[in-house]
Amino acid sequence: MSGAEPIPTIGMEVHLHLATHTKMFCACAVEYDAPPNSRVCPVCLGMPGVLPVMNRKAVELAIRMALALNGTIPDFAKWDRKHYYYPDLPKNYQISEYDQPLGVGGYLDVPLDGETFRVGITRVHLEEDAGKLMHPEDGACSVVDLNRTGTPLLEVVSEPDIHSAEQARAYGETLRQLAVYLAVGDCNMQLGQMRFEPNISLQIGTDEKGRPRFTPISEIKNLNSFRSVERAVAFEIARHRQEYEDDPDGYTLERLGKSTRGWLDDREETFLQRSKEEANDYRYFPEPDLVPVVPDRKWVDTIRAGLPELPEHRRRRFIKEYGLPQYDAGVLTADREVADFYEEYVRSAANTDAKTAANWMMQDVMRILNERKVAIAEIRIGPGDVAEVSDMVVTGTINRSTGSDVFAKMLESGKSAAEIVEEENLAQTSDESELKAVVDRVIAENPGPAEDFRGGKERALGRLIGQAMRATGGKANPKVVREILVRKLRG
């Protein structure tokens, strides 16, 4: 049944570096800015005679991720060797998990445009990364840096449940957020700590027996940004549509199978790397140098018990429990430490309500984080300090804009809000007699706006309040100033 609108059908393979201190099978440090070939040893160099020894922390992190993706941890997982010749792979085989991975099944709920869609997870497995082969423009030969060789890599393979370029991107972003939340990986895209390989095909109606038909699968290798994922998938969807329109009988999965494509970031197009015929035979077989992984049930239970509340669940809870808008809840739960900070802040505030606290978080705390490009743990004030200053605003001790200034000064000096307000004499004044004198002076000095207000222009009042605030060094309680002004001008 051709003619029906083709449905993009996309599965994703995502590789991410695990946040371990050492490599997958040796004790070398995982470092990204070390001089080339300085974080290596006989084991990760694949020297004759060496043997791998599994990094238990990497297995723990993989299990953590698999559990967070609602997967199951089989009682038995094993290592396999995957063979291919390439200069960045000293042994010419990669230790991976082929048919019995650490994590099986599960799903990830992905929010997009105020709704969520569910992507099935096929498997989660561990492997070792390769080195970096480089081709210096001036060099007569290629060079290889093996610092990355043996870095623990987690591969998350999804079911083909993604149906658009936007969804592909959102899936990648949500998976990244989850990995960072769980402290499974830092997922720094610039450092190549996360790489994406979408598999794209279009479902093109069904055959005479009602089974779905597909265009050939193309796998795009090594995408390392969300933008490139979105662009590359969009490009492929369009390309598949065109190819299929041009040759509806020939451009099918049965005929052409699966091919591998690369992505040119500058030209924003994919190119063929390997067709079905050229597919590698990796000659997988069980790695005889390692014993199988038989995760102890108690250990798995401990890892499960240690899982934090996951971002999507937390986002929904923030909306329900704190009455936050969708947007605020999304922003505040994107980073686990920010969300933790916010909750602690709400708990410790005496007078600030949850919504006001959310505003403080977004307008003051997170603005500073963005400006300084630091994590919330790196600033010198805690949730209780922010609660102190926002409580002072809510109770009227200082006004809102003074509050922001005090907050900034707290960051600089590490002093408490009370100390700063006290030292700098910032407490706002609500004393009527004092403020009446100020208001009289302002009206006298600004006859124009005063006339305008009397003439019915409400907006002119704002200017007069502003003048009064300035005259008091920002300490005047703007509410009281406003009342006095209105009384005077109308009265």
Partner: protein
């Protein structure tokens, strides 16, 4: 008695008593090597200077009354597939690794040094341990000390010949399908393959990772026990080495002279079938009669999968793993790099073409084929299934008997060149030994007599996993009744 005629244990006693210095012991071995090695070619490299220096240091420590370890001052040779960071090559007797120097010591080499041994040199072998005659060495063939026209067996032929010709009192070899036991038999010495996991493989250049195991050569059971004692035990760098908590290393020497009684010996009919040389069979049956005379019960048993199937299974498992282990010798990071190449793929191909010998290439091709898509299930996977059956054969047998005995090799040492054109016949040299590796159990070959032509014959004794202590006692029972270790090859008689 000349120093080189001392067994390792007696040499150790003399060194501890300060009746012999480590410098004298090393000097005697180096002298014997100078005299005998040109004819036998057991060593690929020797380190006379290093050995003397180390011997001097050990003498000083012994003089100071220090405990210098189990092997204090005893010279030892190491097969050339074990990494040493002393500047000697670790070539695996392959042209492809001719110029490679290991920057680290194998676990067993560390152990030897910790126990005070003096490593005098590295011994010849079939290239990457692939062969049964040491004729596949990329450099030169080792000769059998009992008849220089004959092979010493392999692949650890250099270590076996070196011990047999009394160039060193003991040596380390590696055994993947019989590579310690078969040359031990052909050279008339004791060679033991420990249970898989007993000795760390860290620093042993891999041939077939699930089968390889390092083990000792000595002229006596006691010497083999001593060297096993020094090298056995857990190593966290080898995930397949067994933790001490699960399998503590027993004292192999303490009760060595205590007979095992009662002793039930399994005699598998499969080890006495077609292909077994009549003279070898008679000598081995005489050895069994000695055990019977000591009160042992001989029990006929079946090991239905353990000869014909074992060889087929062995050659699939071993070549598959070898094809993977040897992939790293590509001229990029490791191995000879061809100077003449058009591009990267061409460089890979030419480097491997030039660097590997024929037998290694043959096995890489076999293994690559067996692991290929579409063939994996029929070959590798099937081989793993048969491997389980072989293990079951032994498990069942060891419910009824304490050990299994038979010939180590179907023939005594064959002539140089006799089987080099017929790989399949050569493969049958391992027919009685390969199943031991597939079942991951322990096995030893001890001298049990000589043919009319004066060639040694070996008795193979197999026993269950981690039963080396009892296995050595069983071997010692026979040794006490006979006097084979005192016989030296004629070539040694030419000593000045």
């Amino acid at each position: 008695m000349a120093t080189i005629d001392l067994t390792a244990c007696r040499m150790r006693d003399a060194l501890r008593a300060r009746n012999l210095s480590a410098v004298e012991a090393a000097g005697a071995c180096l002298e014997a090597i100078d005299r005998l090695n040109p004819g036998i070619r057991a060593f690929l490299s020797t380190d006379a200077q290093g050995a003397r220096r180390r011997a001097e240091e050990i003498d000083k420590r012994l003089d100071a009354g220090e405990d210098v370890g189990l092997l204090a001052g005893v010279p030892v040779a190491v097969k050339d597939n074990m990494c040493t960071d002393d500047g000697q090559p670790t070539s695996c007797a392959s042209r492809i690794l001719e110029n490679w120097r290991a920057p680290y010591n194998a676990h067993v080499v560390e152990r030897l040094l910790e126990e005070g041994a003096v490593i005098v040199g590295k011994t010849n072998m079939d290239e990457f341990a692939m062969g049964s005659s040491t004729e596949n060495s990329g450099f030169e063939a080792t000769r059998n000390p009992w008849d220089l026209d004959r092979v010493p067996g392999g692949s650890s032929g250099g270590s076996a010949a070196a011990v047999s010709a009394r160039m060193v009192p003991m040596a380390l070899g590696s055994d993947t399908g019989g590579s310690i036991r078969q040359p031990a038999a052909l050279c008339g010495v004791v060679g033991l393959k420990p249970t898989y996991g007993r000795v760390s493989r860290y620093g042993l250049v891999a041939f077939a990772s699930s089968l390889d195991q390092i083990g000792p050569f000595g002229r006596t059971v006691e010497d083999a026990a001593l060297l096993l004692q020094a090298t056995a035990g857990h190593d966290p760098r080898d995930s397949t080495s067994v933790p001490e908590a699960d399998q503590p290393v027993p004292d192999y020497l303490a009760a060595l002279d205590e007979p095992v009684a009662p002793l039930r010996i399994g005699v598998p009919k499969e080890f006495f079938g077609e292909g077994l040389d009549a003279e070898v069979e008679k000598i081995v049956r005489d050895a069994l009669a000695v055990y019977a005379g000591l009160g042992a019960e001989l029990v006929n048993i079946d090991l239905p999968h353990s000869t014909d199937y074992a060889i087929a299974t062995y050659y699939i498992v071993a070549t598959s793993e070898a094809s993977s282990n040897l992939a790293r010798y590509d001229g990029v990071h490791y191995g000879h790099r061809s100077s003449d190449h058009a591009d990267m793929i061409d460089m890979y191909m030419r480097s491997r073409e030039e660097g590997f010998g024929d037998e290694v290439k043959r096995r890489i091709m076999l293994g690559t084929y067996a692991l290929s898509a579409g063939y994996y299930d029929a070959y590798y996977k099937k081989a793993l299934q048969v491997r389980r059956l072989i293990r079951q054969d032994f498990d069942r047998a060891f419910e009824k008997v304490d050990c299994i005995m038979g010939p180590t090799s179907p023939t005594a040492a064959f002539r140089q060149g006799e089987k080099t054109d017929d790989p399949l016949t050569m493969y049958l040299s391992d027919v009685y030994t390969a199943s031991c590796n597939l079942a991951a159990i322990a096995g030893v070959s001890i001298p049990c007599g000589f043919t009319e032509a004066g060639l040694p014959v070996g008795l193979q004794i197999l026993s269950g996993v981690f039963t080396e202590e009892r296995l050595l006692r069983i071997a010692r029972m026979y040794e006490r009744e006979t006097d084979w270790p005192s016989r030296a090859p004629p070539v040694c008689g030419e000593a000045p």
